[in-house]
Amino acid sequence: MDYATRMRTKLTEALHPVRLEIEDDSARHAGHGGANPQGESHFNLTVVSAAFEALSRLARQRLVYGIVADELAERVHALSLRTLTPAEDGENPVK
């Protein structure tokens, strides 16, 4: 199973997101330290979930990092995270 699918499965189970976007951004980082020649090293994630309500920015990202800790340890070098509640997502529509 590829890493994007693994992360999607775990995040879906743990957070029941109303919206989850996983974009592989590895190509843009190819060749720099930490980029894996096999790809799947850099991802942009947008997670919209009610689980983030009442959590600080730090706590939200810690929660996500914890869920995909194995993927980070094995292969994924960088996650760019947007962690929003459904209400915030309504206020900040993605361009």
């Binding site: 920015r57 990202q61 980070l72 960088a78």
Partner: protein
């Protein structure tokens, strides 16, 4: 983690109001995420100490354990972990970073 590394981190973030653990130096960042945080701090006119974790493998692993945060860069203000690139950027855009720095008594020069 190595107690010497932990001690060094504690000293660095105690002795300097604003510390950025990053890849490369503030002048020559080696990673886009580190560069983005340098840019925000520079734009705000905040004096900060940049610490290059690439030159010290012990520190590179140690800082991740110290903050329980798996990625670099990491920003500390007055000894407190603020966040990584995404959080710094979001806080800056919302005006929260400026507020945090001001609340902690740190001078910012730019009118953001």
């Amino acid at each position: 983690m190595d107690p010497a590394v932990a001690e060094r981190i504690r000293r660095d973030i105690a002795d300097n109001d604003v510390v950025l653990y990053m890849k490369g130096s503030p002048v020559f960042p080696q990673c886009g995420f580190s560069a983005a945080v340098v840019q925000v701090l520079t734009h705000l006119g905040v004096k900060f100490k940049g610490i290059d974790i690439l030159v010290d493998p012990g520190l590179r692993d140690g800082i991740k354990q110290f903050a329980n945060w798996p990625t670099i860069p990491q920003l500390y203000v007055k000894g407190e972990f603020v966040g990584g690139c995404d959080i710094v950027r979001e806080m800056y855009q919302a005006g929260e970073l400026q507020q945090l720095l001001t609340d902690k008594g740190i001078k910012i020069e730019a009118a953001a």
